[in-house]
C-alpha cells in the first residue's frame, strides 16, 4: 500500500514516458486508457490488490510482458551474483577475521585489520571500475561487463560474465563482515567461559572451537542477515557498473520509463526477500541460543 502510494506520487505520467516528447494529446489519452492509468487511483489500487492476491504482479506498461516473468529472468542474474558474492565474502571474512582477532598482537593481525578498514572505505562502483581496469583492460582476462543474451544456456559464458561482479561484491561485503567477525572473536577470547575452559585444562584452540564458534556466531548471524539483504539491494550499483541485466537495472529502467507494474514488482519481491532473510537469520539465532528461545515463551 505504502509502495503503491509512493510510486503514484512520483512526478511524470507513464503514458508520456512511453510515447516520448512528440506524442499528441490523443495518443496520450489512448495510451492512458490502455494502461489503466486514466482511472481513479482508488480503482487502480483495488485492481492491483486483486491481482497481487493471485500472485499476479501485472504486465509491464512498456514491454507488455508479465512482470513476474521479467523478474524471473532478472533474478537469474541477481541471485547468483548476490549469493556467490556473499559466499565468497564469508570465505574471505571468517578465517581472516578470526586470525585478525587471535593474532591481534602480531603485525599480520594488524595488517588484516587495516586492509579491511580500507575495503570498507572504498565505494563499490570505484572498486568495480578498478577491477575492470585491471582484469578486463590491462590483463584482458575477463569481460568488462555484460551477460550472455541466452542467459544460463551457456553456463561457462554466464559464469565468466559474473566473475568480476561477484568479486566486487565479495570484497566489499567481505571487508565489512571481517570487522564483525574480528570483533565477535575478540569478545569470545576475552570471555569468562573461555577462561574457565582453559583454567580446567582445555587448550586455547580447543576452547575456541568448543565454545567460541557457537557463541561468536550469534552476533555474526544477525549481521549476516543485514549484510545479505544489503548485498542484494547493493546489486543495483554493481549491475550498473558491469551492465548486467539484473534486478537493479530493471529497477532503474522501470523508474526512467515510469513502468509502475515493473517498479512495484521489483520493490515487492525485494522487500519480501529482505524480510525473508531477516526471518531466517532470526530463526537460526534462536536455534543456537537457548536464551532467545526462552524469551518467546516468557510472558514478560
Amino acid at each position: 500500500m505504502v509502495l503503491f502510494a509512493l510510486l503514484r506520487l512520483l512526478p511524470g505520467d507513464p503514458a508520456n514516458a512511453l510515447l516520448g516528447v512528440g506524442a499528441t494529446p490523443e495518443q496520450i489519452a489512448a495510451a492512458r486508457a490502455q494502461l489503466g492509468s486514466d482511472q481513479p487511483l482508488g480503482t487502480q489500487f483495488i485492481n492491483y490488490l486483486n491481482s497481487l492476491a493471485r500472485f499476479d504482479l501485472g504486465t509491464s506498461f512498456v514491454s507488455h510482458a508479465p512482470v513476474l516473468d521479467e523478474i524471473g529472468n532478472r533474478m537469474a542474474v541477481t541471485l547468483p551474483l548476490t549469493l556467490l558474492g556473499f559466499v565468497l565474502a564469508l570465505v574471505i571474512a571468517i578465517p581472516l577475521g578470526v586470525i585478525a582477532a587471535v593474532k591481534s598482537q602480531t603485525w599480520y593481525g594488524w595488517l588484516i585489520s587495516v586492509v579491511s578498514q580500507l575495503g570498507i572505505a572504498i565505494p563499490v562502483f570505484w572498486l568495480g571500475i578498478l577491477l575492470v581496469t585491471v582484469f578486463a583492460i590491462n590483463l584482458r582476462l575477463l569481460p568488462s561487463g555484460g551477460f550472455p543474451l541466452r542467459g544460463w544456456q551457456n553456463p561457462l559464458e554466464a559464469i565468466t560474465g559474473l566473475l568480476l561482479p561477484v568479486l566486487t561484491v565479495a570484497l566489499v561485503i567481505g571487508a565489512s563482515l571481517l570487522r564483525y567477525v574480528r570483533a565477535a572473536t575478540l569478545d569470545v577470547i576475552d570471555s569468562d567461559y573461555i577462561r574457565t575452559a582453559r583454567a580446567l585444562g582445555s587448550g586455547f584452540t580447543e576452547a575456541l572451537i568448543k565454545h567460541g564458534i557457537r557463541n561468536g556466531s550469534v552476533p555474526i548471524i544477525s549481521v549476516l542477515g543485514i549484510e545479505l539483504a544489503s548485498t542484494f539491494l547493493g546489486a543495483v550499483v554493481v549491475e550498473r557498473v558491469f551492465t548486467l541485466p539484473g534486478m537493479g537495472s530493471m529497477l532503474l529502467l522501470a523508474i526512467q520509463q515510469r513502468d509502475y507494474p515493473n517498479l512495484q514488482g521489483v520493490l515487492i519481491v525485494s522487500t519480501l526477500l529482505v524480510l525473508l532473510i531477516g526471518f531466517a537469520a532470526d530463526m537460526l539465532q534462536r536455534l543456537i541460543d537457548p536464551r532467545l528461545r526462552d524469551r518467546v515463551q516468557a510472558p514478560t
Partner: protein
C-alpha cells in the same frame, strides 16, 4: 613435602606500572590457604599468574612453580598439561564463567572426559554420563539427570556455582583455586557453598587457595591466611594468630570490621 604451589617474589607489571610487588606464597598438599585483600589488591592477579592465564600485556617476574614445574616462561603446551591436572579454578561470577549456549551436563562432561583419558580410565559415553551424575550429586544438586540438560540461565546463582565447582572437581586437582566463589551470591547461598567447598576439599584431600575480600568468609574454610594490600603481602600466618594478634594496620581494620559485623549480628539476634 614439596608444595603444590610455590610463589616466590612474584611481581607483575603492565606498561611499566607495578601491579604486584614481590609476592610470596606457598601451599603444601592438602593445605587450605586464604588470600585476603580489597578489590584491586592483586589477589586474583596472583591466582591467574599461578595458572599462567595472565592477560596479554601483563609481564610477570619472579618464580612460580606448580607441583615442581616452572610456570613463568613455560610454554602454553606445558601449561595446558598443568591446568586441570595440578589445579582447577572456580571463578567469581558463575553466570559468565559457564558457556551460555551449552547444557551444564555437557560442560561438566568436558573436563571429566579429559581427566578420565588422562588417568587411563574408560571414557565412553556411558562412563562420562555416569560421572557427570555423580559429580552433580557430590555438589548436592537435586535431580541431576534433569538438571544436566538445563542451560546456565535456567539455574539459580547458587546452582550455577555448584555446577562450576562440579566442573573443577571433575579434574580431581591437587589444588583447588576458588576466586571469590561466593561474592556474587546471596548470604544464605554463600554459607551453603562455603560448607560444600570445605567438605569437598576435605573429602578429596585437595589443597585450597581461597581468595576473598571477606575475612569472616575466609576464616571459616582455611588454616592459614595471607593478607594483601596494594599488590604487596602485608601479613601472613595461621588464621587464629592473625585474627587474635593482627600486626599490620590494614589487617587490624579488617578484623575490627569483621568483629563489629559479628557484633551487630549478635545484637540483632
Amino acid at each position: 613435602m614439596r608444595p603444590v604451589l610455590d610463589i616466590a617474589d612474584l611481581s607483575i607489571a603492565a606498561n611499566g606500572k607495578t601491579l604486584l610487588d614481590k609476592v610470596s606464597l606457598s601451599i603444601a598438599p592438602g593445605e587450605r590457604v586464604g588470600l585476603i585483600g580489597e578489590s584491586g589488591s592483586g589477589k586474583s592477579l596472583t591466582a591467574l599468574a599461578a595458572i599462567g592465564l595472565l592477560a596479554p600485556g601483563l609481564t610477570a617476574t619472579g618464580a612460580i612453580s606448580l607441583d615442581g614445574q616452572d610456570v613463568i616462561g613455560a610454554s602454553e603446551r606445558s601449561m595446558v598439561s598443568l591446568r586441570g591436572n595440578v589445579t582447577a579454578t572456580v571463578f567469581q561470577e558463575p553466570l559468565t564463567a559457564l558457556d551460555p549456549l551449552q547444557p551444564v551436563g555437557r560442560q561438566i562432561a568436558e573436563p571429566l572426559r579429559r581427566r578420565l583419558r588422562r588417568d587411563g580410565e574408560a571414557a565412553g559415553r556411558t562412563d562420562v554420563a555416569a560421572g557427570v551424575q555423580n559429580l552433580l550429586a557430590q555438589v548436592a544438586l537435586p535431580d541431576p539427570l534433569a538438571l544436566s540438560r538445563r542451560y546456565p540461565h535456567e539455574l539459580s546463582g547458587g546452582q550455577r556455582q555448584r555446577v562450576a565447582i562440579a566442573m573443577a572437581l571433575a579434574c580431581r586437582p591437587q589444588l583447588l583455586i576458588a576466586d571469590e566463589p561466593t561474592t556474587a551470591l546471596d548470604v544464605t547461598t554463600q554459607a551453603e557453598i562455603l560448607r560444600l567447598l570445605a567438605k569437598l576439599v576435605a573429602d578429596n584431600g585437595m589443597a585450597l587457595l581461597f581468595i576473598s575480600h571477606d575475612l569472616p568468609v575466609v576464616a571459616r574454610v582455611v588454616d592459614r591466611v595471607v593478607v594483601m594490600q596494594h599488590g604487596v603481602v602485608v601479613e601472613a600466618g595461621p588464621v587464629g594468630e592473625v585474627f587474635s594478634r593482627p600486626q599490620h594496620d590494614y589487617t587490624r581494620s579488617l578484623v575490627a570490621a569483621a568483629r563489629s559485623f559479628d557484633g551487630a549480628l549478635e545484637g540483632a539476634a
